[in-house]
């Protein structure tokens, strides 16, 4: 009841005084890699910008430069009364947990990780489903029947991408070969395009002609190497098809932008809920990108195959294995 009244009050204020349209002061904390990583963080930025454009409500943001800054930045936001405060990336989890406890009246959200607190919304994605779809496309586009995967940091989350991808590839051609490499075991693995390029080159040298990356900034090197070698790359998180038109088969889109937009919007409309939100294919949280840049690469046959897979996943007839559920990949 109080919520409704509060919501009405917000509405009244909004109508009465459009200048100070906001009773919410959203904030967003990007992960290492920065807001223009053409990938994960940038998707968040796009969502926040969309919200700003539509509602006229401004937001604060901050890009951390090192791990030590996370907590301080979150607290800085909190102290200024920012809410909701959205933290991008699983590495922020322990900091969010700490700061959210200190400021129980503020709203927090975290992407890619679950923080179990009454004032935190945890947004996680079923990346395996989107990866499965691009795996289907990769297997069909590959002439050598050898495809590659380059991950960023070797963590369960990235293995989840890899596993779904392998599942999609094997669904098309059980004999197809998938080369898998991880860039590293530390945070630096997200921002090392040279290493990413070398990994992609080594896979291409071994015969791969489609390479999918889930490696943030490192992935720019993967796509570059694939394009340089005249092979195909597959982008991730944001739609990266435009980076090398005609050389990027598709992108596995993870709609962090939608998640951020929703978080801000829900808070503004008084519809905020805490708890875990799992966004899969059904919810429009993941998908694959088709636009002018890659439409020449996607044949009608590929399109119908991927549509079929999509339908199967949504209606439950195709189950894509979640690596993080049991830390194994059956494909």
């Amino acid at each position: 009841m109080r919520k409704t009244i509060f919501g009405l009050a917000v509405l009244a204020v909004t109508i009465a005084a459009p200048v100070r349209a906001a009773d919410i002061q959203p904030a967003i904390l990007y992960d290492l890699g920065g807001k223009f990583d053409k990938s994960f963080n940038e998707a968040a930025y796009v969502g926040a910008e969309k919200f700003k454009k539509e509602t006229g409500v401004d937001y604060r943001d901050f890009e951390i430069q090192n791990d030590a800054q996370r907590e301080q930045a979150l607290r800085n936001f909190a102290r200024r009364g920012n809410s909701p405060i959205v933290a991008i990336g699983f590495t922020q989890a322990s900091s969010v947990e700490k700061v959210a406890k200190e400021f129980p009246d503020l709203k927090f959200a975290i992407v890619d990780m679950v923080v179990d607190l009454p004032n935190v919304r945890s947004i996680v994605f079923k990346e395996q489903e989107g990866s499965y779809l691009v795996g289907v496309l990769a297997a069909m586009a590959s002439k050598s029947k050898k495809v590659g995967f380059v991950g960023g940091m070797d963590i369960p989350l990235i293995r989840k991408f890899a596993c779904g991808y392998v599942g999609g590839v094997k669904a098309v051609d059980a004999k197809a070969e998938v080369f898998q490499n991880m860039t590293g075991t530390t945070g630096a693995a997200w921002n090392d395009p040279v290493k990413g390029g070398e990994l992609a080159k080594s896979q291409i040298d071994r015969g791969a002609d489609v390479v999918y990356h889930a490696a943030g900034g490192t992935g720019l090197g993967v796509l570059q190497a694939a394009a340089d070698a005249g092979k195909l790359g597959i982008g991730v998180d944001s739609n990266q098809n435009h980076l090398h038109p005609g050389k990027v088969l598709t992108s596995m889109t993870k709609r962090v932008d939608v998640a951020i937009y929703d978080a801000f919007k829900d808070a503004k409309d008084g519809k905020w809920t805490a708890g875990v939100r799992v966004l899969g294919l059904k919810e429009g949280g993941v998908g694959w990108a088709l636009d002018d840049h890659n439409k020449g690469l996607i044949t009608a046959e590929m399109k119908s195959a991927v549509d079929k897979a999509e339908k199967g996943i949504v209606d439950g007839s195709i189950k894509v294995h979640d690596y993080m559920a049991d830390k194994t990949c059956p494909y």
Binding site: L199, K201, D228
Partner: protein, 326 residues
């Protein structure tokens, strides 16, 4: 595994990758060689390379040409080299301290300016292919691309860009100039016994400045290679310690150009192996921690410095500011 074709299949890409990774090391290592042979210790190779990479990325993007990027990289790198020269030669300041300062200056300024100019987290704009040094395909030479020899040709030798060839060319040039010309002889003498050179009426400062400028030019090449050949633009902290590996290679090479080539190739190969083996089990060995390969260049250098496997002795007067006596 006994099949030679398979071994070539496995090794050729790693060797090719090792060559690509050793190029910036080689440029930087030769840069250090020039400087230290003249008696100016330079631990600012990292910073000059980083600044050059940034300038090259920005220059190539601004003028839509890789050559503009190369020139910009060299100009910025030489400017920093001159700051180091001024501190080390004119001011007789501590050369280590000056090198440290230059490393920090580059680390800070590149990201700061990159963020202000491009707003992409310190990155420079992504370069189109026409703005980069691309690989030069030398053709198939009539070799069957699937044969072992064909694989070696295509993966290891062909397909490198112009700057890679420059790096390997810089080795004999350095050797000829430093060991077979009068200028080179004097330059090395300045690093070993500046008083004798001074007594002979040759300007110590002049020679050292020339060496420092060559050092700047070579670091410029190294940075340009990183940003406009190997990658398509600058990213923050792009050098990631390569300047220090180059320094290790310099110690390893005992300040000799041909050895420098060997040391840089070795370190490049180690890097390539580490990249290739990340999380991949080896037959019979299981997963080898890649940190072993990453640590090897540093560990080997320390062992060599300790004099347990041959001695590595720097030029006698390196690091010591020259003061005219009375």
């Amino acid at each position: 595994m006994s099949d030679p074709a398979m071994i070539v299949d496995l090794l050729a890409p790693v060797v090719g990758s090792g060559i690509r990774l050793s190029v910036p090391l080689l440029f930087a290592c030769l840069a250090g060689l020039w400087s230290e042979r003249s008696g100016v210790v330079d631990i600012g190779l990292e910073g000059k390379m980083l600044a050059a990479a940034f300038a090259a990325g920005a220059g190539a993007a601004a003028f839509h040409s890789p050559w503009a990027g190369l020139v910009a990289g060299i100009v910025v790198s030489v400017a920093l080299a001159l700051v180091h020269g001024f501190a080390a030669i004119n001011q007789r300041g501590n050369q280590i301290v000056s090198g440290v300062a230059i490393n920090f200056l580059a680390a800070g300024l590149t990201v700061l300016l990159g963020q202000v100019w491009y707003g992409q987290g310190g990155r420079t704009p992504q370069l189109a292919n026409s703005e980069r040094f691309l690989g030069l395909d030398l053709g198939s030479l009539g070799l069957d691309p699937s044969s072992a020899l064909g694989r070696i040709w295509s993966d290891v030798i062909s397909g490198h860009n112009a700057l890679t060839w420059c790096a390997f060319l810089a080795v004999p040039i350095t050797w000829v100039v430093l060991w077979r010309t009068r200028f080179g002889l004097r330059l090395r003498a300045v690093g070993d016994n500046p008083h004798a050179v001074d007594t002979a009426g040759v300007s110590v400062a002049g020679l050292r400045y020339r060496a420092v400028i060559v050092c700047g030019i070579l670091c410029g090449f190294a940075g340009a290679y990183l940003a406009v050949a190997q990658s398509a633009g600058f990213v923050r902290d792009m050098t990631a310690g390569k300047g220090f590996i180059a320094l290790a290679a310099l110690v390893f090479s005992k300040w000799k150009p041909l050895n420098a080539l060997g040391a840089c190739l070795l370190f490049g190969m180690l890097d390539a192996v580490a990249i290739r083996l990340q999380g991949t089990p080896l037959p019979g060995l299981g997963t080898v921690p890649v940190q072993v390969f990453q640590a090897l260049p540093y560990a080997l250098t320390v062992v060599l410095l300790a004099g347990f496997i041959g001695r590595s002795i720097p030029p006698k007067a390196s690091g010591i500011p020259y003061t005219k006596d009375r």
